[in-house]
Symmetry: C2
Amino acid sequence: MNADPAARAHADPLASWRPGATRSAILGFLDAASERPVDERVAVFDNDGTLWCERPRYAQLEFLLGELRRAADADPSLGARAEYRALLAGDTEAQADLGLPAIAAALVELCAGIDPHEFDRRVAAFVESARHPDTGRPLRDLRYLPMLELLAELRHRQFSVFLVTGGGVEFVRAISGGFYGVAPEAVVGSTVGYDVGRDAAGRPVLRRTRELFGPVVEGEAKVAQIQFQLGRRPILAAGNSPGDTDMLDYAMAAEGPSLALLVDHDDADREYRYVGRAGSFDSEGSLPDIGRARGWTVASMRDDWGEVFATASAPSPWHRSVG
Amino acid sequence: MNADPAARAHADPLASWRPGATRSAILGFLDAASERPVDERVAVFDNDGTLWCERPRYAQLEFLLGELRRAADADPSLGARAEYRALLAGDTEAQADLGLPAIAAALVELCAGIDPHEFDRRVAAFVESARHPDTGRPLRDLRYLPMLELLAELRHRQFSVFLVTGGGVEFVRAISGGFYGVAPEAVVGSTVGYDVGRDAAGRPVLRRTRELFGPVVEGEAKVAQIQFQLGRRPILAAGNSPGDTDMLDYAMAAEGPSLALLVDHDDADREYRYVGRAGSFDSEGSLPDIGRARGWTVASMRDDWGEVFATASAPSPWHRSVG
């Protein structure tokens, strides 16, 4: 037994992955990728449902609900807006009628005028105190241990690791360092607009606008945004939902060894059981079936993961790994 | 004399900067910044005229002119468009009448439909063969040695170093690794749109569109784009033109030690002599005068730089310094 934790981790880099075809496919890819130049070792990960639990609600939505409640306490007239009323009442039927785009737009507007650094502080305070509604776990214990092991092993093999989220990039950047060892600039996601104003002393200040800048980063927009923001081509993409399929196809289309990894939420005992359907490909069946047919590697939470959740583990500080 | 080049460099990290107030101000900032948490050590650099020579023409414009000539050879009808005709004829008066935005838009359109990786290859081929029109130097020898030393010292002090260019981000990313040791994702700049299509095998492919996605990254857009893409706040900003003033003000407005560094092109013998005027602040005088009044540090090329151009020096590979 080697006493050095780093060496031990490297001796068994994917310890929480059960032996089997999925683990072997990942290790086979990692070995093949070691032949590639370091600058081509690029991996992109979806966040919600891929690196941590997204059920029963996105953590970001919980955060915004808290912001909404606080704002409505201070200004009850906010409750007159249909989207806010449905959210405050927990009226899921009304929310479904209004649709997620309208709800999301209303929540973006809610934070208009806030300085991005103030927004960061609010997210940090939320993440510190929030608990998972069903299990009472702190949010950092909702991270998937097998995926953290994969992130660590990719870094060990000199991969550049990026997050590509459909969620608001500001929220994910506020947790990406502490949760995943990923620097803010390595997070791609849906982005709010900013106005540049001046304070009383004439110094530039940033304020969130009422609207998104650019698209919601799902589907093909994930592929385009990877190019816009990173300018690099992934050879590994991991996701769990229909919004990730284009990114997974894009990674698979790279020359040389590549890996598309789909997390299949098939574990009702340890997490949740739900099957993503692939948007326009509904007729083709469930997302895992579609993925297998396309050569993706499907990680069954139930069968492939010996442990699901990380508890005490923490990633290396991201500032050790960025230039 | 220490035989280890890295240790030698560190013993005299800014060897090409002549002793004086400018060098002292930079070293004073570097020492003060060492007290800050590593994740707050963020530096942003303009590229053209700040890290390398931008006269008599931007290298990117030379590249696009070459592309235009090649395209016009294959399809002479292109010459019917006023912008292309003025460029092909070298008619600077007609170019000035048309204006830089129209010229730039026409050149963006010229490259529509190209895959970004093909665009990278064309830039790389250009950079390999192009020579400076006045001196015949290869392009990498147009980099400013004192600024390369500053980049190296910042990295030694665990700064994250980013480029923020008004030019096309794709062009700068193609050179940023080899010229400056900066990874593609650490370059912010004006960005063309991309369409995501599918090839015959159904795999996603990216194609440049005919238009920019987002603003030309000058002035306040530099500040907003830093937040959009990097999500971090600089405490050092370096630039040389009116388009950099907001970014320099933004760095200066950070809490704690900060540095705004303006390169003053006042050296007609070794480079060029030209004075930037500060856009809406024309009445206040020249950019160096304005900057000094605002607490910026002005680097006089003539007085502060013992050497101007880098020749044999190369940066560390960027893939050693990114996570």
